[in-house]
């Protein structure tokens, strides 16, 4: 019986938590698992195939209930948790945050601060496949890029899986649901889809922790994560925002430096 299961079992048995949010084996790949009984903990798994970002559940009060909840967090999940905490979305005293190291040791974090220190050793790096696609796009002419995105986004049918899977999209009312004025066309159409993605990217500026859940979730396979990844790069260059780390002075778009550089304002 591995350490994670031991830990989960004791947490549940001792009544420290009401449920453990982790992973179980699914149809094709592992899937989120809400474990509420000690006898079910044996289903818990943890490996590199576990890619869902479970932080997405931590902003859903009706799921968490009033008791304490434990969550088995991957690196991306931890990053999201830190950002969510910074954005006042989490109650430290209601969460037990666990992670499993490569040596299959279970770590229980004393608090959000400890997670930050832990994360220091893990730089967020964008994987080659995405980087190549970004480079390819940047290599294209403006017109080619436009055609690329129009074609990709014409497939979007606005199921908002990207939004639902993103831990940072926790608004009670998303901008696309605002109808006075109707900023974004609510029906699926290339324009509305592009406007939605531009909004999503802008809203994630300096907040995206680069977990890639949005693209992972997209049923029609649009590489929308490129938008935020590309933005991360830019923000890093322009304003020294560290990808996957919250900017303690406030969001990159809600703060400024008088010496900020630009080369296009006349």
């Amino acid at each position: 019986m591995n350490k994670l299961i031991e830990k989960a079992t004791s947490l549940l048995q001792e009544g420290v938590v009401t449920k453990v949010i982790g992973y179980e084996e699914g149809t094709e790949k592992p899937r989120p698992f809400f474990c509420e009984k000690a006898e079910d903990t044996s289903k818990l798994i943890y490996n590199s195939r576990c890619i869902n970002n479970l932080a997405v559940y931590l902003t859903k009060p009706e799921l968490l209930g009033t008791g304490k909840v434990a969550v088995v967090a991957t690196l991306p999940t931890l990053r999201s948790i830190v950002q969510l905490a910074f954005e006042n979305q989490l109650k430290e005293d209601k969460l037990v945050i666990l992670t499993v190291t490569d040596s299959e040791e279970v770590i229980e974090f004393a608090g959000f601060a400890e997670i930050e220190t832990y994360l220091k050793d893990f730089k967020l790096k964008i994987d080659q496949k995405e980087q190549d696609l970004i480079d390819k796009l940047e290599g294209m002419s403006k017109e080619e890029r436009w055609t690329f995105w129009v074609e990709e986004l014409s497939q979007c049918f606005k199921c908002y899986a990207c939004r639902a899977a993103c831990p940072m999209c926790y608004c009670t009312r998303c901008v696309v649901e605002v109808n006075c004025p109707q900023w974004v066309q609510p029906w699926a159409s290339p324009l509305g889809n592009i406007e939605w993605q531009i909004n999503r990217a802008m809203h994630l500026a300096g907040r995206c922790t680069g977990c890639g859940s949005c693209a992972e979730a997209c049923p029609v396979g649009i590489p929308i994560d490129l938008l935020t990844r590309k933005m991360m790069e830019d923000l890093g260059e322009e304003f020294g925002v560290v990808p996957g780390q919250p900017n303690k002075n406030g969001n990159v778009l809600s703060t400024f430096k008088p010496e900020d550089k630009e080369n296009f304002i006349r």
Partner: protein, 339 residues
């Protein structure tokens, strides 16, 4: 219903005849890892080796977004431009699965249950369906559990069953089908002794649908909904890939003196789907929305239109970001012992 044999070349020739006609033809096309129905111009574009397209083909009759009517105001005068059925082009659906064809039956039921939907019916009337029986399936498929099957001809105008020799058995099922044959009658040879079942995929029956609907009748307050829906993210992926989901929203698109009313897809899985202006939401929780989805397909639709709202195509399970496997959930309900 007549059965004919059609050779590999014949099939190809017939296809080209259709392409050259005034009809639009949609067929599965491979793009990256995904296969989708797209408008095709050549036989080569058609995907061959795949299980299921990501999306259903319902959009030919029920588009993601469609203009119901548009209007223009000049001073105090308002002129209305209504939907014109004549603008709908003749369409052929090529190489859809039996479950795709079958999907239009409940859909038609919904769009004609009380009000006869002009737009849907006009589009469907101009659509001819050439389904190909399934020789492959995966463990998300469960058509046989919901009164369908790999060789099910319901809803199809013609059904093609491919044979080892490259030729195929053609079942011409409807006048629409016959009309399509007339584009290249010479390609259709006399029927040969063919046992269709031999060439069909084996899709095991996973649950007894009677048993399921029986259980559902009394399951409204069951804890199962909460258990099953806990991981559900509340996105619309399942509804939008589904061949039978028909929820829609009506939107007003007004610009100065002109405007149009638009119907677009919606999903009962969205938290705002039932939100009232007052702030009250009768389906506050995801579990209630999940229950609605299942009950609508397996209780309410059978009651109202005498059709199941599910063809067992398994698309929702494949599309779900958190693996809300409908088959698994249905099976567990069906096998639940009543407490």
């Amino acid at each position: 219903m007549e059965k004919r044999y059609i050779s590999k070349e014949g099939l190809n020739k017939w296809f080209n005849q259709i392409i050259q006609s005034d009809k639009r033809l949609f067929a599965p096309v491979q793009k990256g890892e995904k296969v989708e129905f797209k408008r095709v111009k050549s036989f080569e574009e058609v995907a061959s080796d795949y299980i299921q397209t990501t999306q259903s083909i319902k959009r030919v009759a029920f588009p993601r977004a469609e203009v119901l009517f548009s209007y223009k105001k000049e001073e105090k005068e308002t002129t209305l431009q209504d939907f014109n059925p004549d603008t709908v082009p003749e369409t052929v659906l090529w190489k859809i699965h039996p479950c795709d064809a079958a999907g239009f039956i409940p859909l038609t039921g919904i769009f004609n249950w009380d009000y006869k939907d002009k737009l849907y019916n006009a589009r469907l009337a101009k659509t001819t369906m050439v389904s190909f029986s399934c020789q492959k399936s995966d463990n998300s498929c469960f058509c046989t559990s919901v009164n369908g099957g790999p060789g099910n001809t319901a809803g199809s105008d013609i059904q093609i069953t491919l044979l080892p020799d490259g030729g195929a058995l053609a079942e011409i099922l409807t006048p629409k089908g016959e009309a399509l044959v007339t584009l290249a009658p010479e390609c259709f040879e006399a029927e040969r002794e063919i046992k269709k079942e031999d060439y069909l995929a084996d899709v095991p029956v996973r649950f007894n649908v009677k048993e399921l609907t029986g259980k559902l009748a009394s399951s409204f307050d069951s804890p199962v909904w909460k258990q099953q829906s806990e991981r559900c993210l509340g996105c619309g992926a399942c509804a939008f890939v589904c061949p039978t989901c028909a929820c829609f929203d009506i939107q007003e698109d007004a610009k100065g003196s002109t405007g149009r009313r638009i119907r677009c897809w919606d999903s009962c899985g969205f938290s705002m789907f039932t939100l009232h202006t007052s702030g009250h939401n009768p389906r506050q929780q995801q579990s209630q929305r999940w229950r609605q989805r299942i009950l609508h397909k397996f209780s309410y639709m059978p009651e109202r239109i005498h059709e199941l709202g599910c063809t067992g195509c398994g698309r929702c399970s494949r599309a779900c970001p958190v693996d809300m496997n409908i088959l698994e959930h249905l099976t567990s309900i069906a096998q639940q012992s009543h407490e």
